[in-house]
Symmetry: C2
Subunit: 335 residues, 2 copies
């Protein structure tokens, strides 16, 4: 009986929702803040800084180490590895399309890409620099950076502010348009398979798009509670209560377990999933999200359809230059 009713509802909604829900393609450009226009020279400098392991205390960890632009914009690990083999408790979010996030970090504690870029560099378990003064001092010893910063920002311009502006400008170019989904939305009805279209309709029908809406599927809202519905079994296996999300920063009870709604773009490439990387596959994640956020048990077919749809969100990576970094003649790092 339940199955039949579900099916009827699904069919009814499927025909209406594909009209009612406004599916949006990904923009090919990201808006920049008034004080940080995206220029080619700035993007190029940002790309160098982003890929430079000398921004870490040990000379071994760059932004790209955990947010790998050669892959899905992260590292396919539950937790990333920072300097001296240290790991934290959260899973690296993808840098692809991060320009479309309203806030940054899993707990949304940074309001902009610029603010975000400043964080990991001096985080003791990530890039481990003692201070941004130390980063600036180190960059000043690299002649190529002195010249390039001057070209982009003017004379004697190596600073935390300008370095993070350049990194943010670069990140605004890390957009992956033309996924099968985008081509489908643009009118190419053959771009998604029949199963993927079923999955697309299902995510709207179920209410996934209540949070994962918009061109990057990262919300109309900024934060969302997770898990919404308590589940002892899943808590035992996934330890969600350990990390209180936004409340870890704000120390407010009402912020407990609030998280930034993450993009679904390129999600097929970013296993494992969830803020703590505790869900290994898309199948597991889709079922778990339906259960914990919507109180729904998905069938095997529903799950497969949604996973097929999510696989249709993998876009095209932009062509990049190979980042040849300015050398530091005679400099070395210690253990």
């Amino acid at each position: 009986m339940f199955k039949i009713r579900s099916l009827v509802t699904a069919l009814a909604l499927a025909s209406s929702i594909s009209v009612a829900y406004a599916w949006e393609a990904l923009p090919t450009e990201a808006p920049a803040p008034a004080d940080n226009a995206t220029t080619a020279a700035k993007v190029e400098l940002g790309q160098l800084l982003y890929h430079d392991p000398r921004l870490s205390s040990t000379g071994t960890v760059s932004c790209a180490s955990c947010h790998n632009t050669s892959l899905g914009g992260e590292d396919n690990r539950p937790n990333s590895v920072g300097v001296n083999g240290q790991t934290g408790g959260r899973s690296a979010p993808t840098v692809w399309n991060a320009a479309f996030n309203k806030v940054q970090f899993w707990d949304g504690r940074a309001a902009s890409l610029e603010e975000q870029a400043a964080g990991p560099v001096t985080n003791p378990i990530e890039m481990g620099m003692a201070s941004w003064d130390d980063v600036v001092a180190r960059l000043k010893t690299i002649d190529g950076y002195v010249t390039t910063f001057e070209q982009v920002f003017g004379k004697d311009s190596i600073s935390k502010e300008n370095a993070t502006k350049a990194i943010a400008a670069y990140e605004r170019t890390l957009i992956t348009p033309n996924s099968p989904y985008d081509r489908y939305v643009a009118g190419d009805k053959s771009a998604l398979t029949a199963q993927q279209v079923r999955g697309l309709e299902k995510v709207a029908e179920l209410g996934c798009t209540g949070c994962h809406s918009g061109p990057a599927f990262n919300g109309p809202g900024v934060f969302q509670k997770f898990p919404v519905i308590a589940n002892g079994t899943l808590e035992a296996s996934h330890h969600f209560s350990k990390d209180k999300g936004l409340a870890e920063v704000s120390k407010k009870v009402e912020d407990e377990h609030l998280w930034k709604v993450p993009t679904l773009r390129n999600i097929a490439l970013t296993a494992p999933y969830l803020h703590n990387g505790s869900a290994k596959t898309l199948d597991e994640t889709v079922k778990l999200m339906a259960k914990l956020q919507l109180g729904k048990d998905l069938s095997k077919d529903e799950t497969a359809d949604i996973v097929a749809f999510l696989n249709g969100l993998t876009g095209e990576f932009p062509k990049q230059k190979f980042p040849t970094l300015p050398g530091t003649p005679g400099k070395s790092f210690t253990n």
Copy 2:
């Protein structure tokens, strides 16, 4: 008296040696073995494998992590950092122009680039894969590699042999010609400063070129004993006796402290120096090598001239494509 005699000898030798010693420019192509022709498609595959952290157990360490082609072909550290933050006892040699080494690794235990490429992947403190069978199994789960290997090597061709062939083919393209020294040798007498020319003449006069000869300054011979001359003070500070070089592999007394003669190409970019990374600067290294290998105490000016010359060995890095790696939908690594 000693100073005056040195000066006279230096002048006498300087005029004769700049004729007598055959300075050679770097070839722009490296010869390939008969069974591993350098083709564009193979080089491209090799570049991907070289930059792919999924060749390590943790998904965090690629060949490029320690032999960084965005920089001087290594990591500017005394010892590199492998999986789980582990460090070994030797300093990563540069990959630039490694194609011109007669043997590979500091102890020369690999006869070819192909053989070398196989080593770090399964070294427990470097990339930590349990076996090449595991590497092959993992690569087979990545559709993009299945296709690319097929294009390069034929159907069902993912194997240790072919992966290392591709990496070696890529490495044969990592040549840095057109250094100031190369332009000088080619006839542009303004390419080196007067001080650099003094340094060039000095390295031949002192006998540095007895070992560091040829276009890559890595020998007519393959191995050289280091240190040649025992020095208690330098042993106390640099701990050379700890690592027995080739003898660590061969277990032969006569191989104790035999080392591959390293290239001097791009040496200004590859601090710190020596097999154990115990010399921080070029100044220190030049003085130390003269003392331990030739029994000579260099003056401040002699050292400065030689260091200036060595700075003239920094070549031009080839233009590379940005390595966009084939994705692994749904796969992840565990801690």
